[in-house]
Symmetry: C2
């Protein structure tokens, strides 16, 4: 995967007017971290993302407007955000970790659709779904039958996505 070359430095501490950034900045400082320029940009990218983003995707989006930010900073920031619970880290099995803003407790249960043809993995947002109830039932059953206390559940559905299904003429 190609990476853009090095930029010529960004204007550090660019002005953001996003009210949420103040909130997030507070949470960062509460954990002894600082709200720096690069971090503002990364947070901004995550905020405007609907799906989970890989580190590279975040880096690309950041790079578009701020070529000076290094990929190491992206990795370090994502790691930090996940550590203090501002972002959720997810491993979809393709070797890339993916991140998404959001309280971890709301994403305790996760369903991922993995297409065995095109390799695309699509996280499904549970929580508003009935899937939530189904998974809860599964957790209850394993607790009863195996004495296992589940904290987090990941369901991977392997199969064909809508596009590839058509292509195969299923």
């Amino acid at each position: 995967m190609p990476r853009p070359g090095r930029g010529q430095g960004m204007g550090r501490g660019g002005g953001f007017r996003d009210p949420q950034q103040g909130m997030l900045g507070g949470r960062l400082r509460g954990h002894g971290h600082r709200l720096t320029g690069p971090r503002r940009v990364i947070l901004s990218v995550l905020e405007s993302a609907r799906d989970y983003l890989s580190a590279e995707e975040v880096y690309m989006a950041v790079y578009a407007d701020n070529p000076g930010v290094g990929i190491a900073t992206v990795y370090r920031t994502l790691q930090m955000l996940a550590e203090i619970g501002i972002a959720e880290r997810v491993d979809t099995g393709d070797g890339k970790a993916r991140y998404k803003l959001g309280p971890v407790e709301d994403q305790r249960r996760r369903v991922v659709l993995v297409c065995t043809n095109c390799s695309r993995s699509t996280p499904i947002t549970t929580g508003t779904d009935d899937t939530e109830a189904v998974i809860a039932q599964l957790e209850r059953m394993t607790a009863e039958q195996h004495g296992f206390r589940t904290n987090r559940t990941v369901v991977q559905l392997y199969g064909l996505c809508e596009q590839c299904e058509k292509q195969y003429g299923g």
Copy 2:
């Protein structure tokens, strides 16, 4: 992670008397693959494993008796075994894929309990369970809501196993 240095070559096609190997060899040939020496050893390692093994763990076990087998062969074999359904691949989120022998067609739906304390992963045999019905429902729902045709489902429950639960005094 240190890796053992290169060995001085193995006796290819070592004699095995494991009756299961004949069966597995047949399944390999049925898919147009061959049962070679290194593959016998790798299969033997997987057979005697109770848990999921990472590629490196398989390589280490293979290396103990057959230092001549390269790690590339381990990767290629594991990949092939997973492809034809003789082994199951699982991504536990630590960046390493793990493999375990097991007929996928008999276990199209799999539930694995992963203890976040002791790191042990325990496969649960579905099929006679109610879990089967619950997962089937999940698959039905994603088909309806996302047009996704599921062929195989892996559920990973992360939490505390019975032993660690006691230890923590939950």
